[in-house]
């Protein structure tokens, strides 16, 4: 079997968010996973008893598939708690495709939940820095991304204004998404971003993602079974993962991420190229991420990300719709954002994007990021038309 044999073999048939933003007092990360799971099952037209594969990652739980399976009342025959940070859920798509194709399970649930805003508004992270880094008191993770931004600016002349364009576009998208944390707050300007509180130069608070509560769930099954369900399938066309480092001081080149590899693997499996992609969902924990991933995934040349995102190219009405839900910067970011990339991609492929729907969307790319640009997981999803 070659990896391309996985193309189109499974489909996402259910997606849902839990309550988002600042949830009701006392709700736990388990409750948010429960909400999202119930809603995703309803979305798919499936019952909880149909779920026999379970994929979960959490910043709260060392054994998430055990704790959460108990809460949900499921007894998975196949479970996978791969944790590669915020990219985990995109990695789970590939793992679920393999498990379903191999006959290890028939219906896979991917779930995530976090109450980090209610918990105090700081990132909940089990990360332990290397002692060789910790002594210098970087702020994890923002300082690491700031270092990457500094190098990109040095090598390619990227400006703080160009980074700010990413946040401006994200806010504009969020004004079209009633579920976004910043919905109704109106637009952001480049000047707003530059004049916000400096956190770790060159990144201000507006270059950084939100801190919200939130959960999500995604349900996959075989393409054959998907066609019998009362929902438009979003076919899994390709996936890839890559990691080159964990600690920032060990990243080989701060201007190039392992998305070069994960993206190539996903595109190869799918038999697609960047120009085939209609909608792009990238993990924008910080504004520099979007530039790096657009370059590394082949949407523009290395070093040209700053110019590429300028002039509204990735904003509503622009040439390339990027982070159409408002992204981690303006929609929702409970700590491990990757599952929300998948949810938005599926909605766009189904034509359920409401005011932000992109007409004629047949192929969506999602790229999850974990750690400090450490893990990259890419997936391509498509409609029946894209499947061919």
């Amino acid at each position: 079997m070659s990896t391309t044999d996985l193309r189109g073999r499974v489909a996402v048939v259910g997606v849902a968010e839990s309550d988002l933003g600042h949830v009701a007092p006392g709700l736990t990360h388990f409750d948010l996973m429960g909400q999202a799971t119930a809603r995703a099952l309803k979305d798919a037209g499936l019952k909880k008893s149909d779920v026999d594969g379970f994929f979960c990652a959490s910043s709260y739980l060392p054994f998430p598939t055990l704790d959460v399976a108990e809460y949900l009342g499921i007894r998975p025959v196949y479970a996978d708690s791969t944790n590669v940070g915020g990219s985990s859920f995109v990695a789970h798509l590939l793992h679920a495709a393999m498990a379903i194709e191999a006959g290890l399970c028939t219906t896979a649930l991917i779930a995530y939940g976090s109450t980090q805003r209610s918990d105090g508004g700081r990132l909940v992270s089990p990360t332990k820095l290397l002692p060789y880094e910790e002594a210098y008191k970087p702020r994890y993770p923002v300082s690491m991304y700031a270092l990457a931004a500094s190098r990109h600016m040095y090598e390619y002349g990227t400006t703080r204004e160009q980074l700010a364009e990413v946040a401006v576009a994200a806010r504009d998208w969020a004004q079209l998404n009633p579920k976004a944390f910043t919905y109704g707050r109106g637009p952001l300007t480049v000047e707003d971003v530059l004049s916000s509180q400096m956190i770790s130069h060159p990144l201000t608070s507006k270059d950084c993602c939100l801190v919200t509560d939130g959960g999500g769930a995604v349900i996959l099954t075989s393409a054959e079974r998907a066609r019998d369900l009362p929902v438009t399938p979003a076919y899994f066309l390709g996936g890839g993962e890559a990691t080159w480092h964990r600690s920032m001081s060990q990243m080989p080149d701060l201007t190039t991420t392992a998305a070069v590899d994960s993206g190539r693997r996903a595109f190869t499996m799918a038999g697609l190229k960047p120009s085939d992609v209609d909608v792009v969902e990238l993990y924008d924990a910080f504004t520099i991420n979007t530039l790096l991933f657009l370059e590394d995934l082949g949407f523009c040349a290395k070093g040209e990300g700053g110019a590429f995102v300028s002039g509204g190219r990735i904003a509503p009405g622009g040439e390339l719709p990027v982070n159409t839900n408002g992204g981690g910067l303006s929609y929702c970011h409970p700590g491990m954002y990757g599952i929300f990339l998948i949810i938005e991609a599926v909605r766009q492929l189904r034509g359920e994007g409401g005011a932000r729907q992109q007409a004629g969307t047949n192929v969506a790319l999602v790229n999850g990021n974990g750690g400090v640009l450490s893990s990259q997981a890419t997936a391509l999803l498509g409609t029946a038309e894209a499947l061919g």
């Binding site: 970087p138 270092l147 060159p202 060990q250």
Partner: protein, 122 residues
């Protein structure tokens, strides 16, 4: 076998920046470990750095209750990169590409490797 972390700490206690060198592939290794991350060999031996290098990346942290401070990645001349801080210059003036030299200071009761701008005459 002595622990890799101890070799580094012993160096700092002696006012030196020590790193490992792989006898099999002739490359520098940092942070310290028991096998070469480049080739997999266990033939690692300690060397002492000249303490000179260049700033590879830099940031300035702004936190409440403390003055802004620098965190940098430094490419040390012997061929390894480490996180550190550049002192002796305003945090915002730490420039990528600037030549720097080691200064082992004491912070929080332990020796710490920081860097200072390398003067032209040095």
């Amino acid at each position: 076998m002595s622990a890799p972390t101890a070799g580094y700490a012993d160096g700092l206690a002696a006012g030196e920046l020590r790193f490992q060198h792989c006898g099999a592939c002739d490359r520098a290794v940092f942070y310290p470990r028991v096998l070469c991350p480049h080739c997999g060999s266990e033939s690692l031996a300690w060397r002492t750095s000249s303490g000179r290098g260049a700033v590879y990346a830099t940031t300035v942290l702004h936190k409440r209750g403390t003055d802004p401070y620098n965190v940098a990645l430094v490419d040390v001349d012997e061929g390894f990169r480490m996180m550190s801080r550049v002192e002796g210059v305003a945090p915002a003036d730490v420039a990528i590409g600037a030549r720097v030299r080691l200064d082992v200071i004491e912070e929080d009761g332990v020796p710490l490797a920081v860097f200072r701008p390398l003067e032209d005459q040095e």
